[in-house]
Assembly symmetry: D2
Homo-oligomer: 365 residues x 4
Amino acid sequence: MADNSFGTLFRFTTFGESHGPAIGCIVDGVPPRLSLSENDIQPYLDRRKPGTSRFVTQRREDDHVRILSGVFDGKTTGTPIALMIENTDQRSKDYSNIAQQYRPGHADYAYDAKYGIRDYRGGGRSSARETASRVAAGAIAHHILASACPDLTIRGAVVQIGDHAVNRDNWNWDTKRDNPFFSPDAGIVPIWEDFLDDTRKKGSSAGAIIEIVADGVPAGLGGPIYNKLDAQLAAAMMSINAVKGVEIGDGFAAAAIPGDQAGDTMRANADGKPVFTSNHAGGVLGGISSGQPLVVRFVVKPTSSILTPRPSIDSDGNEIEVVTKGRHDPCVGIRAVPIGEAMMAVVLADMLMQQTAQCGLINPE
Amino acid sequence: MADNSFGTLFRFTTFGESHGPAIGCIVDGVPPRLSLSENDIQPYLDRRKPGTSRFVTQRREDDHVRILSGVFDGKTTGTPIALMIENTDQRSKDYSNIAQQYRPGHADYAYDAKYGIRDYRGGGRSSARETASRVAAGAIAHHILASACPDLTIRGAVVQIGDHAVNRDNWNWDTKRDNPFFSPDAGIVPIWEDFLDDTRKKGSSAGAIIEIVADGVPAGLGGPIYNKLDAQLAAAMMSINAVKGVEIGDGFAAAAIPGDQAGDTMRANADGKPVFTSNHAGGVLGGISSGQPLVVRFVVKPTSSILTPRPSIDSDGNEIEVVTKGRHDPCVGIRAVPIGEAMMAVVLADMLMQQTAQCGLINPE
Amino acid sequence: MADNSFGTLFRFTTFGESHGPAIGCIVDGVPPRLSLSENDIQPYLDRRKPGTSRFVTQRREDDHVRILSGVFDGKTTGTPIALMIENTDQRSKDYSNIAQQYRPGHADYAYDAKYGIRDYRGGGRSSARETASRVAAGAIAHHILASACPDLTIRGAVVQIGDHAVNRDNWNWDTKRDNPFFSPDAGIVPIWEDFLDDTRKKGSSAGAIIEIVADGVPAGLGGPIYNKLDAQLAAAMMSINAVKGVEIGDGFAAAAIPGDQAGDTMRANADGKPVFTSNHAGGVLGGISSGQPLVVRFVVKPTSSILTPRPSIDSDGNEIEVVTKGRHDPCVGIRAVPIGEAMMAVVLADMLMQQTAQCGLINPE
Amino acid sequence: MADNSFGTLFRFTTFGESHGPAIGCIVDGVPPRLSLSENDIQPYLDRRKPGTSRFVTQRREDDHVRILSGVFDGKTTGTPIALMIENTDQRSKDYSNIAQQYRPGHADYAYDAKYGIRDYRGGGRSSARETASRVAAGAIAHHILASACPDLTIRGAVVQIGDHAVNRDNWNWDTKRDNPFFSPDAGIVPIWEDFLDDTRKKGSSAGAIIEIVADGVPAGLGGPIYNKLDAQLAAAMMSINAVKGVEIGDGFAAAAIPGDQAGDTMRANADGKPVFTSNHAGGVLGGISSGQPLVVRFVVKPTSSILTPRPSIDSDGNEIEVVTKGRHDPCVGIRAVPIGEAMMAVVLADMLMQQTAQCGLINPE
């Protein structure tokens, strides 16, 4: 589809480079007459905002969102909602030395190969600044879901940093609010703190695995074959900066689980409704939601912007050494939690609208 | 997008249920004047065909493809190419006892929840029969790539069955042809044989991990942000039956690799062109191909159709026990290799056309 | 969008050349559990069929449609419905002399310019055979509308042939069934008969204007700005072979109507609901249906396949004279009536589903 | 497709209401390395701007456009280009009395029926303010075409106001610049002046017919069947506010032209290339450009905002009388010329990119 748009019915298009005047998006297909204001969107951006702990980027962006259209008298009109965030803290001088450099692990070389030109300041369009736009669009999606599916919740957590995984026996969603890592396991927090302080001192960085869980998802969302819910979620998460893999339910562990243990069996509850006895599937069967919790994980590679010098070349073919100075996350995965939650929301809102259209129009019985 | 279509410019739409009259697809956007006949497509279907070893389904489908349109005098006309495969070996009687049953791990319940109706014979639309349609479309994509990028190759292999992974030091693509597992490691073959014979006797099944590698991919394919090459590949592979995860390059292992080792550094060759010293990225940077080998892996869960009885319920809410008789693969992942290759081909063909459109139209210099 | 697909949610893709093995389509997004069989579709094809009067093509196609997928136990499953019509009466020898010729008014030259190749037999993909596919898809759309909007009717008529227009004071829909012209005015029939017999003897052809009216259309269909109902109808009708213009309501006559007479004023009925006092708008305001009758007209140019010799060139640049022998309509516009009705149906079905998705999901009050 | 987006490869999405903070668009798919600045876009907006003669709206908008992204160092980067225009002269108080009113001929009632809410100020999203966004997007399309097809020109003119049509024998494109009507016929100007002064004094309005001509269009653009060039142009023009019909070439006059005169015959020039002897087709054959001038006409109905009181109802069902005070065009058709030119440009840019993708990728000879 269009490079910078996501979705079919709930559909948003983002714009903006790291050091351009502004970033933002247009969100189309929003149901009318929902109450909406900047105050409904700003909190989602604040959760994503850099500068909230010593473990995330020290760049200070207010990420103040403005609604430019699509809302009247505090309610959505059904017409497209444009959101804009001015870039205020860019510090161009941090980047001027890299105009010609291809930083290892970054998209610099690939953009040049594709377009023959790139805005090198802060990574230009490849910058994680773009994720603010999708979190803003995601806020609207969250809002729609709150009206359409009041029992639906979307929550994300970091489940691994480096090779330190959480202890799932300690899982407590409330723990998330008490630590800067979105960790659901209180016990892992000091381990991650030490690990990241150590990583930062070494001038290196660490990867992470994020898990997003949606509860209360109605069964029936997702349209086989190429519009499968898990396929759309895979595309959604993989499109986030620095993501290198997406899995659902057991994910890659499913390779080694014997078939007679891997299926989720069903029993009937008092009303004859199916109750699943496990959730290996992660909430999706044949590409369609089963009503079980949707469990998606994605891996974020370690930040490519580190202080350790590494060999590379520049656009003229000269061999150079690259040190990416400036303000960088030691672990960008931490900030990906609200982004993953946003992508879960936009996919579910879109799928819900599509299901309503095809299967909610007529009741032949 | 439309549930049953994939792609933007090279775009195909599939149809067909396991036990309907036929399956097939329409492929749109094919460049004109390429020579094409059934003989160019049939070999790809044969590689996918069941009944070629004791380790895959014993259902005997000829999968004989017919071209119904879009080809004249042996050349593509640029108009849509319709391909059809008649279903000839359906054995309806194998499935009549499951009309009401929800088989664990299958899409039965989810389809009922979504549509309120399902063709239960052989899984209906959720059957892996559909993959024959995409392999046929993929054959055309392979054909386009052969003309547009003669140096581009796409090859897939099974790299793990159960928890038995190949030894990458033994990797030899030619080995693939000498064993029924698409294994690139001769040494693992007897291990897999014993493991699957054992699995079959137990009435169980095994999962697998498949790796697809594309060499000779031009740099510049893929359009950030939501049309990233890896995001499209993730959707493509996740849409294959029974897939529960997709990763690229280091994939989920990237979580634990230190940042100073995780980036692929570059040196210059004699012409000043960049040469990468490693391929952690798997051939994609910032969503755009870098020219490096594209390395994608996906996991196929163990077949849910097994002889071991498992508890479940039926559509009336009665608790039952399910034994899925009939002819079933002990490891469906093996057959996914040609399917993964097909999906790689259709994504690359589409991306190549999109890149040509945006960046090949004008040369401002 | 994809060249050979139409629609967003109710979406169909057609294939097939005039002299290929078959034509057909895949229809996606059909609501589940509607009863459907070939008997529901065949009558629409029969109305379009050539050979039913001396005024339309003498080619004898049975246009027998087969459903290949998407229906089970006589009901739609929600999965894609593939329809196929075998080409049985092609008479290739009628066309062999034109392989190199560019027939004036036909698409021969344009196809060669675009693709560098064309299936010249019967016009290949440019043939009006393709319209059988869309009429088949339209039959399913009509079927959906019958369930979703039982009060909605779609009726088309020819309102002008050559420069002989119907007398609107005589308009009677029932008249349509009693003449071979789909004329709603009994008085014009003998005039058209004489005119067309005369035209045929001269070896010439005539154009026509067709009017399609939909009554009982709910208000609110169509989504401004680029998904306006009238914009989609314009594209739909203009895509029919030989159409050169589309208008709605007053159409081009609106240029000369004073503004104080051109708007449709409203009064309130007993329930306070709006009643329009006229229908200059043709049922669309600001791109959205108003609940008024939808009135769309399109013009079909005179057939370019005539016996009168005309100068042209061939693909080698030689000047030639073209006489298109064979079996040809003196007025293709007559057969366009069921095609226009089909396109009206597919647009309304799609719009209805889109409206349901965006505005039917949530009721904030 | 998405309501507020147009195009497949060159694709833009607009936002903004008449009295919201701003209007604008995001343009995606722009080829990289084209020089672009606000100075390339502003002139197109100025031509559209109200307040440039006594015959067009007296609302004084500067329509000052800002580029927010997608341009670096004065060149397009290939990333999405966001354009924004602040609304500065809204005069809300002009509209407060119509909050409940359904103005005849306007979209008020239809928007309420669709969304259950509308921004009534100045027509909200239905306002012609939106056309500034498309003209801005069109400026970029014009820019692309100037690089890709230097011989291609797009020019529009008014050819009829009320029932006063231009004299085509006097046609001179240069005349357009010397009158406020975009008229190519100097002789009609005083007639139109008198007619519109008279219309205005009567508190009424007049319709118009606009003709857009593109010369130097390469043959081969447009993709049959549903992506026909004329079908896309029909949708493009019909989507403009107040348009009620679109025709190409002879248009509706084709109904009455005998078939032996209606086709454009071809002769060979010195190089054996085809030369057409007429242009009844208007530059399109079978939905594909023939290389002939593209001639498209559309009709704009008389403005519905007039001073003459007319009966209507309000949203509570009360019968009222509507006088739309404020600043209104006596003939909105005049301002539609640059808008029609913009839509021609966006369609051609998109078609050119699509043709390059499918037929420019491979040369099998």
